[in-house]
Symmetry: C2
Subunit: 346 residues, 2 copies
Amino acid sequence: MKEASGRRRTVRISDVAAAAGVSKTLVSYALNNRPGVREETRERIVAKARELGWTPSLPARALSVSRAYAIGLVFEKSPEALASDQYYTSLMAGLQSVLSHSRYSLVTEVVESTEAEREAYLRLAHDGRVDGMVIVDLRQDDPRFALVREAGLAFVSLGWPPERTTMPVLVYDESEAITDVVKHLVDQGHRRVAQVVGPQTNAPARLRRELYQKRFREHGIDASRWIESDYTAAGGRAATAALLDADPRPTAIVYSNDLMAVAGMSAAFSRGLRVPTDISIVGWDDITISQYLHPALSTVTQHPFDDGKVAATLLLEAIGGQEFVEPVWMPNPRFVPRESSGPASA
Amino acid sequence: MKEASGRRRTVRISDVAAAAGVSKTLVSYALNNRPGVREETRERIVAKARELGWTPSLPARALSVSRAYAIGLVFEKSPEALASDQYYTSLMAGLQSVLSHSRYSLVTEVVESTEAEREAYLRLAHDGRVDGMVIVDLRQDDPRFALVREAGLAFVSLGWPPERTTMPVLVYDESEAITDVVKHLVDQGHRRVAQVVGPQTNAPARLRRELYQKRFREHGIDASRWIESDYTAAGGRAATAALLDADPRPTAIVYSNDLMAVAGMSAAFSRGLRVPTDISIVGWDDITISQYLHPALSTVTQHPFDDGKVAATLLLEAIGGQEFVEPVWMPNPRFVPRESSGPASA
DNA sequence: GTGGCTCCTTGAACCGGTTCACGGCAAGCT
DNA sequence: AGCTTGCCGTGAACCGGTTCAAGGAGCCAC
């Protein structure tokens, strides 16, 4: 009586063994599709297991095979920055869309300093909590690659890692979109263009800035007008204010994410400037809200959900032992002109 | 040689035992602060453990004590809806801010149907992957409570659960903010006010709609003008379009989240209406971008990060065996008037 | 000197799987 | 007939902790 109402007795592999009249070794072999089990016997065991509703105990399996059946994702970001940036949530959803069809789970951490990030990595690895990591937001001389290497963890890198590796790497080419943005602006007569960029310790942020500069120079535009910011709205607003203070004011500003671009528009409005009549604004990310803004934001679309899907798939393969030599090229980001960019003001 | 460069040998409890010259039982007792160990011996063991860099193996401990040392969070939402809604990401960050100081981790899942949600719950529970769940977005007759009860999992509910429970419950009172919004609108002469609400299978969405209606009626306003939508931008835009088609058009629309409100503004603009001159708009959530819009969005602020913090704290206590009888009242959401609401048009 | 008590310590079982090494048996080969 | 070979199946060890029941040492009282 007490038993029935109390903690539900879970069915063990030995229960299945007893019910099928074989040893638990054989049950294990049968259920893991190992050779050395007569087909007829295997079927009987599988049927019994299903009948009893057996599912493997994760901790037990984890203990004996030293696998966690989980992957980790650590965000080194302020909660504010994380929440206001859709990229990460979409990425997570993309990862999940693959994991939920496997027996793997996603363990996430949000930390607010590189020191805490380091600890999180060590903890996840040392505790045997995960079998692999998804590394995003690559930084200059990123210390995380050494961490995973030492911990013997598999990983997937979203962006070029600083060292050669046999783990999967996802990359894409932003230059095409950047070329399109610059062409779009130049065609509309813009000659004074400024940039508000992300933290320059962040490798992709740096690369993006350089690509923009290269294209600017090719069109004879002064490429030195850029301000480093932090991807937050407040940061974007402040940077924009500074840029608008310059005497020959820029006629266009390109931002490294939409959130800063929106805040930039707000800064422009509050000075009585019209967008795009007085100043053109181009973002990056294409967050949901961008197309509903007034004016709708010209920006560059990315595919974080797909990135997540592919990243999860490849990471699982890497955990399975597969080696990767070539990076995987993802579809390029694409420029989407909308209303916030137009002809340059006189 | 091969050993040294290969898989790093992790230090086990028996290594500590050998080094300290005691049995592994005693090491376990000492490290778990159990009574029955001489103080001097305990110190020696702890010192040795630290010296060797021992950390407990999670799977091993999980196996013997039937604890996962993790909590679960399942989102039943489209990736799109999840990504564009800051609430969830902030909630997650809040949970993490507590968990990272414990040995607990957060396991997240994103599913797109209630059937998949059910499977996710069963899987997390059955696999022994988590010790407790965070239940958000309560629905009418929410099936998740039965799931966790049957699985014997602890949980924390963000909102009133359908049944009596000894698990922690977080609640807050929206009526104050709603009273303020309605008063604000009425004071400015609004008599025709409409609502765009969230899915009415969602219990809090329903309650919010009813509270608004109650206040409307108290001021003699027709409370029947509401449209059910889905919290997405596309949904908000469509609902707004329908509302604006009505002949005596509403002079104000209140939305159940900011994303729909922004999309609603966009719909108004595209018909040549001005905000707030021709129509006032009030949102709900206060996402980061709201204050940077043009006009800045009048809305209601919530505290998802704090909710997460408190939820995690209480859930850990519940897992520890503590029982809760009274729900915990969180600070009330607060109305923040900005530029998108103003005097009613004639 | 012996019994009884407390305090500290330990061997062994257990959690629920995986896997290694071995054994029985029938078929194939010489 | 004797020996190898392959297939199928099993016992036992192992993963790294926790915990129960029992054992030894030291001390006190009778």
